[in-house]
């Protein structure tokens, strides 16, 4: 067991760091030595104050400095007899005026004092239930506190950040769906995987995260050069973790296509300078990398194909199927049930895919404040659908003719009795009828 912690514990210069601000929003900032970071209304501070701090801490911006705040517990609320019965919603709430507010801020009054002032001027405050009071205070705190919390760059947190920021760019891939995809694909250190990721690199990030720099990840993209995979920047991967990934595009992954780069060979005699030599060598290295990546793909026997793509999944399967090993996991995500239903129909008609199964993911978060446990009032409706199948090698002779004829008859009968379409690969279902 390595003594070195595998977790990235502390913020380093060069990290992209996620911050949670009091209103619940998350911001992404780049931490570089001697850089000033500004977070809108909250104020600004020097990056250096964050470097070497543990992820997960909460800071208050005091002037231009950061003060670490102790971890916040949930406060138990005492219930009272208040029932809101006597509260009259007729506008008798007299808020602190904007002028008073500005004056207080000007004078550097601390947020907790501003809130206290507001409460004092709230005529009905004492009539409210404790829960209502707490809610009111929280709302005010969120509005005025100059605090933030750094968010550890885990797959969970990064996925949540992107899902909230721009669901479309990650193709509605919610963390529960992504986690299930990684499990269904059996991603493990040392494996070899094919990834088609039009979800801004979220899938690739998940795969790399679970591999820890051991194995091989080949992504196929629709741009000439390896795409940027913007999600990866928040993951702050070490070079080792990223080193196992290489990319082809849909043209260069065709066996009968000769990429033009490989034809750009310069004769040795024509090189007239060191600079030109560097350029030529760079080009050659790129050509060699492309060549070796292609060879790697064409060698096949990949252990999983994971897809979150805007392209027709049938056309993706058609291209990549021959590179998948036996017992390989095929995992395809789509925001739309229609796309994967159609695909499932095609796959179950083929003897190459065992038991293609379509499922929908569902995730719910709860509020767990004492005495007030309930599901969040809003939830994300669309986490998408996952199709999982196992690649198998068919043996058309596996069921001899005499049995086949009898089984076909039984299958027809079984079909009549059941509306549910059973997978054609489940030869056993039929045989079960035989026995029972």
């Amino acid at each position: 067991m390595a003594e070195e912690a595998p977790t990235q514990n502390k913020i380093r210069s060069g990290d992209t760091v996620l911050l949670r601000i009091p209103n619940g929003d998350t911001r992404s900032i780049k931490v570089e030595k001697d850089l000033i970071v500004s977070i809108g209304r909250l104020g600004s501070f020097s990056s250096n104050e964050l470097i070497d701090q543990h992820y997960g801490l909460t800071f208050e911006i005091v002037g231009k400095n950061l003060v670490v705040l102790p971890p916040q517990n949930i406060q138990e609320l005492e219930e009272t007899d208040a029932t809101n019965e006597h509260i009259v919603g007729d506008g008798s709430v007299k808020p602190v005026t904007p002028e008073e507010m500005a004056a207080m801020k000007e004078a550097g009054v601390h947020v907790s004092d501003i809130i206290k002032k507001q409460i004092d001027q709230h005529t009905n405050f004492e009539l409210k239930t404790e829960y209502s009071k707490d809610k009111y205070k929280k709302k005010k705190e969120a509005k005025y506190a100059k605090v933030f919390t750094t968010i550890p760059p885990t797959l969970f947190n990064v996925c949540e950040y992107w899902y909230n920021k721009d669901q479309g760019r990650i193709r509605d891939l919610r963390i529960d769906a992504l986690s299930q995809m990684l499990s269904l694909a059996n991603i493990r250190p040392g494996g070899r995987y094919l990834v088609v990721d039009d979800a801004s690199g979220l899938v690739v990030s998940g795969v790399l995260h679970r591999m820890g720099g051991q194995g091989r990840v080949l992504t196929i993209c629709d741009v000439e050069t390896p795409p940027a995979y913007p999600v990866m920047s928040q993951m702050n991967f070490s070079p080792e973790v990223k080193s196992i990934m290489s990319s082809l595009n849909w043209a260069t992954c065709q066996e009968d296509y000769t990429p033009i780069i490989s034809t750009w060979d310069v004769e040795e005699g024509q090189i007239r300078s060191d600079k030109q030599r560097i350029r030529v060598n760079k080009r050659r290295a790129a050509s060699d990398l492309l060549q070796s990546t292609r060879e790697d793909l064409f060698a096949g026997e990949f252990e999983a194909l994971i897809v979150a793509s805007e392209y027709d999944p049938q056309s993706i399967l058609k291209r990549l199927n021959k590179y998948l090993g036996g017992s390989c996991n095929i995992v395809i995500h789509s925001p739309y049930v229609q796309i994967l239903s159609d695909l499932q129909v095609v796959m179950r008609a083929s003897a190459e895919y065992l038991s293609p199964a379509l499922s929908e993911v569902w995730l719910r978060r709860y509020q767990i404040l004492p005495g007030r446990t309930h599901p969040m009032m809003n939830m994300s409706g669309a986490g998408g659908f996952i199709l999982h199948a196992t690649k198998v090698y068919d043996d058309p002779s596996a069921v001899p003719v005499e049995a086949h004829r009898r089984l076909a008859k039984l299958a027809a009968e079984a079909q009549k009795n059941s509306d549910v379409v059973s997978s054609q690969q489940d030869g056993g279902d039929v045989a079960m009828t035989d026995v029972a």
Partner: protein, 354 residues
Amino acid sequence: MWSTAREIAPGDTVIAWLTRDLIQPLVVTPGKDLNIRFGYYRHDDLVGVPYGSKVGSRNGKGFIHVLRPTPELWTMALPHRTQILYLADIAFITSQLDIKPGSRVVEAGTGSGSFSHSVARASKAKEEFTRHGLADIVTLTHRNVCKDGFTVESAADAVFLDLPMPWSAIPQAKKALRKDCLTRICCFSPCIEQVQRTVTALNDAGFTEITMYESLVRPHEVDQVPPMRSIDDACEILKKAEQKREDKRLRQIAATRQNLANKRKREGEADLAEDESHHDTGSGKRTKTDEIDDIPQEPISLDRNIAGSSEVADSTKPTAKTTVSKAFPEVRGHTSYLTFACLLPGSPEVAVDA
């Protein structure tokens, strides 16, 4: 209640539908105007128009639909009243409490459990019920039911409690329910802790068949999209782009060579030693060629809007659209827990009030 006539008459309450999120009730009052961001209308224009009509504004700035009110539209039209019950919950509760023509139902707390605008709401709601001709059907009172009880005794077929502490009103609710047949109660509680205390109170009060449900609705968005692009399209686009780039590179190399040759011709062989540096820091054109020699820096986008790619896409794709749907990204994840129970007639516990 609301008009059932085909056409709108003066004095009718109608629902003006501006957009899905902007629906407002209107009492048609001849002589009055309606001036909204969707145009200018006269109430007189609505009189005699069939319910359900699209009505254009007088100033051509838009139109509205005038609809017949329904409880559902009424609820949608009042989005700012706190914590109105949701359609799915109302519908489910109605079925579970077996509410039907002739049922006598007692409701306590029409507002939210956490912040009831009781006084203000009561007067406002009373006025509304009267206007809608419901005054004979709905009796409205403002009182602390937990302390003072309900106004009826052994009379209700069903009780609906939407209170912050429903458990404290259960003995009173039991009093209000009739004892000569099976009756029902529903408690509407946002938090599970309320449910737990309510279940205990219901059980202690002799209610049976205690069940609890959550009912939600997931609205879906439907979209008509072109059929998904095939990898073949992507391939073609990539190949063409690569070929174009290569052609350009070759043309530029040829042009540069030609330039060099011309230069050599003009300047003679003497400057040959200088050429190296010129080659590297040379003209913009030359530098460009260098860059193209290397791995291209800018990826080719496959965006459908790019002219270069659209021809390929168009030629290989059928024009038929496919329909896809998915749940809206953010949907309501919780309204309330609905706790139900029955009170059986003649059971010994019924005689003993808590």
